[in-house]
Amino acid sequence: MSGGERQPRFLIKGASILGKEPADLLLSDGVIAEVGKSVSAAGAEEVDAFGLIALPGLVDLHTHLREPGREDAETVASGSAAAAVGGYTAVHAMANTEPVADTAGVVEQVWHLGRRTGLCDVYPVGAVTVGLAGQELAELGAMAESAAQVTVFSDDGHCVSDAVLMRRALEYVKAFDGVVAQHAQEPRLTEGAQMNEGPVSGVLGLGGWPAVAEESIIARDVLLAGHVGSRLHVCHVSTAGSVEILRWAKGKGIAVSAEVTPHHLLLTDEMVRTYDPRYKVNPPLRTQEDVDALRQGLADGVIDAIATDHAPHSLEDKDCEWEAAAMGMVGLETALAAAACAMIESELLDWAGLADRMSVRPAQIGRLTDQGRPLDAGEPANLVLIDPRARYVVDPTEFASRSRNSSFVGTEFRARPVATFLRGSLTAQDGKVC
């Protein structure tokens, strides 16, 4: 972060705020100093934003930065760069590092690395259980009270499958307004799972990951959250049935939120017929029926947020046969484009709606007070400028991320983040960090 050093003031000219009327924004001292029709400011660096859309800086609830432990795949610095290029001003770094982020020491390390990089705000997620092992609670309070001020707790990659442990975690984090983000995957039903269980897995002879393994855990967890009056967040919802359960739970007034990834909004298990490990991800790509239901759920607000589940993997973990390949795909640098493709081009959401799902609500779920704010005078100057008509083909060799395992290689997208500002500083421009 820029700290005490003097930062240039920016005068953004003619940006269409939330896709609506064009206006000028003056960024000064880390905040939006002025918004209006024709703002002028002597000495400010002008940014021509005519034809561009301004949204609040994107907030990711689900990012794997891999540091400490797998710096060959990603670091806090390279992941922050990817985030800035992708239009993000805040990311939540998942806990499945080596060592696991299950102590105040590890979350503070990640938090400090994020501060030092200064390209986006890095909020460490704390593990729910020691070592992600699902046996005993990690010191959640210590992580909450640490310098990292953890509010989101998750064993992501593993499900907190023990019902009693999940109940206790949900209850315990109430003391500091935390939230448990569940990776909903019934472990016994997914032993040896390689892809969505359905007609395609039957033909390909790959172990199935049935929708019920996700839905049964979500059903249990919303009932638990309702029972103990706690806040629950569901990671990477992937099935139509999950959307229905969430719809029911929200209708009952249960405090549940949910996220969906860009890849689950665009791709189906038909891609697995290529046996190309780029499409191997957990939860797996599902069917078109699921994709349609997820899009509708997101449009309706049943699903609150788009989260990337940015999962960098080294080349050797993907350049192999399907069963040997690691699960996951990078997403920070394509999330906005993919989300716009799925939701805006289909007219299910407008830009204001997309800002709500990619910035406002994720910030609220993570209890971030200076992210996901309106682009009004006096608000923090966290914003992204988007060219909605760029037309370009995804080329992973241009990624700021250390990893290249994108499922959108060669895909033509339209929307492209062209400039990202974090508290008034330009962090990325035209695909490069500043």
Partner: protein
Amino acid sequence: MTRHLLSAGDLSPDDATLILDTADELARISDRPVKKLPTLRGRTVVNLFFEDSTRTRISFEAAAKRLSADVINFSAKGSSVSKGESLKDTALTLEAMGADAVVIRHSASGAPHTLAHSGWIGGSVVNAGDGTHEHPTQALLDAFTMRRHLTSLDGRSVVVVGDVLHSRVARSNVLLLRTLGAKVTLVAPPTLLPVGVEQWPCEYSYDFDSVLRGADAVMMLRVQRERMNAAFFPSVREYSRRYGLDAERMRRLPEHAIVMHPGPMNRGLEITAEVADSPRAVIVEQVKNGVSVRMAVLYLLLSGSDSALTGQLVPEEVAL
């Protein structure tokens, strides 16, 4: 048809018939005192076996040798999934050695597909069984065997019984038999049929007895005893009673119906010794036919100028 044989579903009716007809011609070689043709002299066939399968490997080895190819057996036991040399490095090694064809057996479904499409090697890839996906040469030798006994496969009824869920043999057979015009009925307890089987180009039943009467061929699949521990069925005895082929069930088959098994058999589990050793069982013949069919596949993949499955047998070589 590409230059690889990865899935039985890749074969058109013409491709499949050409392979079977070619195998018919080549089968005569096996009856000669000198069982050898010079066709693939100077070509290198690598048997790349990541999974133990002596039967399939020696069948391919015999096929390649009878066509005078140089054969390299590369046994990468365990699997590349465990730590060690990756499939990629193995493939690059074989490419450097100048393999014209790689016959691959792998525990991972899709590994032959990856090998063929990764750009790691330039030669032809023959799938000799991948995970629970496919085993196309087994389906070809099964079709070859059935054709010999039933004249034609068109309109014939083939019943495949057993652990379809984990069977690459069943998947390849369903695809190939459909291509050749036969009607396939899968029989298994519901736990051992894959999700989505109702979309496969075949019928299925949970009741073995109900399909015996109309069968022209019955193919029994190997059932691993450890499936019982994963609750796919309650006990070996119950499985045998409901889905095993014994003499009593065999008597209810039409007189011309043949009994098949891809081997290795669990005598007393999916098939009784009495049935396995009966004159209606063509199980040993299947093994013999395996060599002819694999000769045909290697011949057609490697001898054509474009290495495609379109070549014709040179008359002086096989018109004996």
